[in-house]
């Protein structure tokens, strides 16, 4: 694709000959080398046993091995909880700065911050939450000193399912806000006015028009949030050090040292995870398509 000694090019014509495809070769080459081949390696490896023969055993073992089932279930739970919780509160936040009537400046602040927060995930996020809700964290100490309420006495721990979920919200809320704010903007003012004009109250408008129109967006975003949480690794590892055996952490352990004593099984775990992510992305895309069609 070197812009070399080619003189003034011809006026555009749909050239779909072989020459045209040359232009995207570097991109495809890169994608094949560093995206597709690694994926294929894992995919193929999932179906191979220790002797290199084709087998379904690994895939089946995903469903029978208790530790693996446990890992998937844990990952699914934490992803679902943060997707739903993150989705609901994220929606409310997005609502408050769009239709909710807060000053424009707050909206800009929220959107900018959402971009920041979703990038803050990983090690820094874990450290920040330890400083807040760890045993000697700021909020922990505040509650103890001012309200005489010790949260760790109630059995709460930051390094648990609840704590990790709460931490995950730091990038789930912003993701929801960033998707829903434009969607809420897309609710035309005329719809509310038309509904009012026809006798509907605000509640009726929301129940019959606004929420149904937004539903594909909301569901799609929650699915995206689900996938987002499912694939998270660094935050969980930095916070819990591997104590919570979610799928990503298990896979990490498998990479370092074949803890499963079966490379094929490790690949199968990875494939299982990719499958779940793919389904969630497909679900999101389909729902996005529905939204766009309606809001033509």
């Amino acid at each position: 694709m070197a812009p070399s000694a080619v003189p003034a090019p011809r006026v555009k014509r749909p050239t779909s000959g072989l020459r045209a495809w040359l232009g995207v070769v570097p991109f495809f080459l890169f994608a094949i080398l560093f995206l597709i081949l690694p994926s294929i390696k894992l995919f193929v490896g999932a179906f191979a046993d220790n002797e290199g023969q084709f087998t379904f055993k690994n895939i089946l073992q995903l469903f029978t091995e208790p530790s693996i089932l446990n890992a998937y279930w844990l990952s699914i739970r934490i992803s679902a909880v943060t997707a739903i919780g993150g989705g609901i509160f994220g929606f409310l936040l997005a609502y408050s700065v769009t239709i909710g009537g807060l000053p424009k400046a707050l909206r800009t602040m929220l959107i900018t911050f959402s971009g920041v927060a979703s990038n803050f995930a990983g090690v820094p996020l874990a450290f920040a939450f330890v400083a807040t809700l760890g045993r000697t964290g700021f909020v922990t100490a505040l509650l103890k000193d001012v309200f005489h309420f010790s949260i760790y006495d109630t059995g709460f721990s930051l390094y648990s399912f609840a704590g990790l979920s709460f931490t995950y919200m730091y990038f789930q809320f912003p993701l929801m806000v960033l998707i829903m704010a434009p969607a809420l903007d897309g609710l035309k003012r005329e719809w509310r006015e038309a509904a009012e004009n026809l006798g509907a109250s605000r509640t009726q408008y929301w129940l019959r028009v606004a929420l149904p129109v937004l539903l594909p967006s909301i569901l799609g975003s929650m699915i995206l949030l689900f996938g987002n949480a499912f694939g998270a690794y660094a935050t969980a590892y930095a916070l819990t050090g591997g104590a919570l055996p979610i799928v990503t952490i298990q896979i990490g352990a498998q990479i370092r040292g074949d803890v499963l004593h079966n490379p094929g099984l490790g690949y199968a775990m990875a494939m299982g995870m990719v499958f779940i992510m793919a389904v969630s992305l497909a679900g999101y895309s389909w729902l996005q398509g529905r939204t766009e069609r309606w809001l033509r």
Partner: protein, 293 residues
């Protein structure tokens, strides 16, 4: 959030007042959600900042910051990360811009498949990507079904591992870089601009350099800043490929020290804020999102 407007002339004034009250003058619920959200987001940052300022007993000071920045490990790893980020951004631009342009102008058929490829990083998170990359590139790569060696094992050499991590970073940033550039090209309608330039006699090089690149500057900056933020904070690829970048350094620091990690964490936050702020300024309001790590 809702007011039932009651009927009858007497209550008109009342319902009108109620409408104004809940809608314009004071959206109570909206403020509630916003304040709760603000608390949730700000408290951890405040806690980090507070902790990072208390290294010296009984005083507020920047000692933790001084110590953290003075540590040779910091300079080494952070500089290395910045270096990797710059290389990633440059290669990314070289890869993405011509491709996006080519697809817009000459090869619309490839659009679907290229967009599919740019969505793959969402489906294949970093941990899986590094898994696959390590397994393939720790042995030599041969032409399929032959013994012809194409590539030496990348993971065994320093250079090779660096290539791998840059490639991995490019993959991680691909969705954002591509989408940003593609949208930028659509907004300025590169196709029409190119045709105008052609009708005025420009060749490909001139078009690329003088028409395309300048007009997607904003999109490039946006994508570049986002890539920068991703690379500097990245931990998974770096630790599994065994490279001394900033991410693993910060993590390790957290195991041994208390105040310096907090200082660096807060600094990371400020840096990310700066990057996002610039993006906001430059793009005028489009938020950019990176996923979880």
């Amino acid at each position: 959030m809702s007011t039932q407007a009651s009927s009858g002339p007497a209550s008109n004034e009342r319902s009108r007042a109620a409408r104004i009250f809940t809608r314009r003058a004071f959206p109570l619920w909206s403020w509630l959600w916003f304040i709760l959200g603000a608390l949730y987001f700000i408290l951890p940052l405040y806690a980090t900042l507070d902790f990072s300022l208390r290294m010296e007993r009984d005083t507020i000071g920047l000692k933790a910051y001084a110590e953290a920045f003075a540590d040779p490990g910091f300079a080494r790893t952070f500089g290395y990360s910045v270096f990797l980020a710059v290389v990633t951004i440059l290669v990314s631009i070289l890869l993405v811009v011509p491709t996006a342009y080519w697809i817009r102008l000459r090869l619309p058929e490839a659009r679907r498949i290229v967009e599919f490829i740019t969505l793959l990083p969402f489906v294949i998170p970093a941990i899986i990507l590094v898994f696959g990359m390590i397994r393939i590139y720790s042995s030599p790569v041969n032409l399929p079904f032959t013994d012809i060696r194409l590539l030496a094992p990348l993971t065994t050499s320093k250079f090779g591992t660096n290539v791998l991590i840059v490639a991995g970073y490019i993959v991680l940033g691909l969705p954002y870089m591509y989408r940003s550039v593609d949208t930028g090209m659509r907004t300025v309608d590169v196709r029409t601009l190119t045709e105008a330039a052609q009708s005025l006699g420009a060749n490909w090089l001139t078009i690329m350099a003088r028409v395309v690149l300048p007009n997607v500057r904003t999109a490039l900056l946006s994508g570049a800043l986002l890539t920068f933020a991703i690379v500097v904070g990245e931990v998974v690829l770096a630790s599994y490929l065994g490279l001394p970048t900033f991410g693993p350094y910060l993590f390790l620091l957290g195991q041994h020290r208390a105040y310096e990690p907090a200082a660096l964490t807060f600094t990371t936050f400020l840096l990310t804020w700066a990057a996002m702020g610039i993006i906001q300024l430059v793009t005028g309001g489009q938020g950019q999102v990176a996923g979880a790590h």
